[in-house]
């Protein structure tokens, strides 16, 4: 049945993706929920939460707030929190509750900006889309609000879009990417999401952007249109030490597209006969091979992989549970947005 998932638990939702982009930028993030969504974001989808404090708050909505649409109260709560905090901006991140009651985010933003005298953003996430949709919306909102033409293009500066824990193999990947890019001759690497808002504000002056996850593509396209900044895609620090002979093997990879593409390249070089990328997440047409597969339901994956079509399946360990009849080799490649593990 469409919609029924029997083996695989739900993936990180769009509000988690949005929050991962805003994390640690020095603003107040208000998740417009009753509490559970914020709890999931902080307790499950944000591995930095337990090591680095960040002003992510729940709106703490109660039934009457939702029924009466008490946006004024929400803005008052935000103002009170801002009075205790040195925030650079505030952002409202949506969840199913505002989606159902039809919250007017633009009005909410205007009301809050008027009272706060800070830049206020809104992201209309619904909890019904996947994390990459939220990441995409959040990056766009951030760049639209803060990226400005800040002087001449700096030819030795490169920006990195998409470096959120939900799409990386480990929390140290941004550092590895930075080192690798410096090794390639770039003198400055601006990883958007680090160094507060500063890197975002300088996005108009970088010579090039590197996109490491498909959720960052829309922002890269926006920056290209706005500032003429070219971009490329790659996941340049993927290293897997599987002891395995891939020669002549048919392989299925299930992961975020850019990382999966990087792995595909490595496997083909290692002798694999065919490598297919499948994903429930964004599959950018420009980066997609004709035989790559967009998954929608759990059943799609079972029909694709729970048989002997592939010799090897590579994906998060959580997917394995759905493959009761697959007799080939399963290689685990953690995806934080899937299992909450790196």
């Amino acid at each position: 049945m469409k919609g029924l998932w029997k083996y695989i638990s739900p993936f990180a939702p769009d509000q988690s993706g949005a929050c991962s982009v805003f994390y640690g930028l020095g603003g107040i993030v208000v998740i417009v929920d009753a509490g559970g969504c914020a709890g999931n974001v902080c307790g499950f989808d944000e591995p930095r939460w337990f090591g680095k404090k960040s002003a992510i708050f729940s709106a703490g909505l109660r039934d009457m707030d939702a029924i009466l649409g008490r946006d004024t109260l929400l803005v008052e709560k935000l103002c009170a929190a801002a009075a205790d905090t040195n925030a650079m901006f505030a952002v409202f991140v949506g969840t199913p509750v505002p989606a159902v009651i039809g919250t007017d985010y633009q009005a909410l933003r205007r009301m809050a900006e008027k009272k706060l005298r800070l830049p206020v953003m809104t992201v209309d996430t619904t909890g019904m889309n996947l994390y990459d949709v939220g990441i995409e919306k959040a990056y766009l909102e951030l760049f639209r609000t803060f990226a400005a033409a800040s002087g001449p293009i700096q030819p030795e500066t490169v920006g990195v879009i998409g470096a959120t824990p939900l799409d990386m193999t480990c929390l140290e990947d941004p550092l590895h990417i930075e080192n690798m890019l410096i090794g390639q001759g770039w003198s400055r690497v601006l990883i958007y999401g680090r160094n507060g808002l500063s890197n975002i504000q300088q996005a108009g002056a970088v010579a090039k952007n590197l996109v490491i996850a498909p959720a960052g593509m829309a922002a890269a396209v926006y920056l290209e249109k706005k500032f003429g900044t070219p971009y490329t895609t790659a996941y340049p620090v993927l290293k897997k030490n599987w002891v395995c002979d891939f020669t002549g093997k048919k392989i299925l990879i299930v992961h975020q597209q850019i990382l999966a593409n990087a792995l595909r390249q490595q496997l083909l070089e290692a002798g694999a006969s065919a490598v297919t990328v499948a994903s429930w997440f964004m599959l950018n047409v420009a980066l997609k091979e004709p035989y790559d597969i967009a998954l929608r339901e759990e059943e799609d994956f079972i029909q694709l992989a729970d048989n002997q079509t592939y010799d090897i399946v590579i994906g998060d360990g959580l997917f394995r549970k759905a493959l009761k009849h697959f007799m080939g080799m399963y290689l685990e490649l953690p995806h934080f947005a899937v299992s909450g593990r790196m």
């Binding site: 499950f44 404090k53 709106a59 703490g60 905090t85 509750v97 989606a99 159902v100 019904m128």
Partner: protein, 435 residues
Amino acid sequence: MKNKPYSITIKELVERGRNNIPEECISSTHLIYNSPAALAFNSPGAEGFGVKRAGLAIPGSVMLLIGPGCCGRNTTILSEMSGYSDRFFFYIMDETDIVTGRHLTKIPQAVKEVCEALDTLPTVVMICMTCVDALLGTDMERVCRKAAMYVGIPVVPCYMYALTREGRKPPMVAVRQAVYSLLEKREKQASMVNILGYFSPLMNECEIYPLLRQMGIKKINELSRCKTIEEYKSMAAANFNLILHPESRLAAQDLQEKLGIPSIELTRMYQIDKIQKQYYILAKTLGTVIDDSIYAAEARNAVTKFVQSHKNVIFAVGEMMNGNSFELALALVRYGLCVAEIYSNLGTEDYVFLKQLAALSPNTRVFSNLSPSMLYYEDTGNRIHVTVGKDAAYYHPHAVHVLWTEEEQPFGYAGVTKLFKKLQEALDTEGGDLQ
């Protein structure tokens, strides 16, 4: 006040009175800070028993969560826990479901497919609903009845309505009603009692078991100790229910109305004299007498031993632990110990403890765990020696910790004895020269 956590002394709180609690201590008036310390409050599924795990308390049950994907997200953790794998299923709603309500017509078929995917037929399918259906006003009782007729086994709604957390029937109250809702009238057994309140058993060494036997009780039921559906159903024959957690009051009321089982409520406390008084009242109500002297003496000895060896240590008490933080702080202070800080949500019902605390320890400071200003709480060094509670441990990483969050529930004298033994052990091994 920028960059400083809000706090207030017990004396100030009592002077303001229960009708004038500061806004900073009332969670509905401010944004909620999900600090790692308070996470379990805001997202009970993250640890311990939230609605999802609690809803699976009936032996042989499985759960179908109906909601947007985000509502089932943390279930990945639960699915990996022993006893819960293969018990969670999801119907992931999309925008069309919300607009048209079509998901409701699909639930019976979804329940059928869940049953078919299992090796053995479940005893009951719990349908977990979220804020979305709360706002849509879904009549899930009706939907569940229809599904039950379709599959031939009970299908029970289980409400995970976070929006109603501070209402008359918060989710953890509603889930307690749900898990006892399958009990059907049986012939009464005079010597049988149900213990209601927790989703995990009381500690085995708890004196409540022998004391109830002294009162003539032969069979003591706890939902968490039921291994089979028949054991669960036999709870309907109990002579009375013993409520150990206030969130079970409505479930007990249902059982009174439906099955004619009356109830008596006991409170978890750490003040030995109060525990004693409570047991005597219980015995008197049941028309018997009890001898609890051995258990009381054991608890007193544990307290005395600790106080003698560690009378100068300074405590911080949190709320992420098995107890009421104000009652535990009061107990510690009454035993002659010092409590410098308490981290807790404050309710009017806590004033009974606050008034006594104000007389004994007026300068103890109360912090609201959920206040956004707690973002700025910093450990000020060596002031706090011992913490009780997971939240308190988070705020004071360098202190000696007794988390006191075990699933096996402490209660009565045995709870006091175990807590003080743990404190003694923790300070003896990790406390260095703290005396």
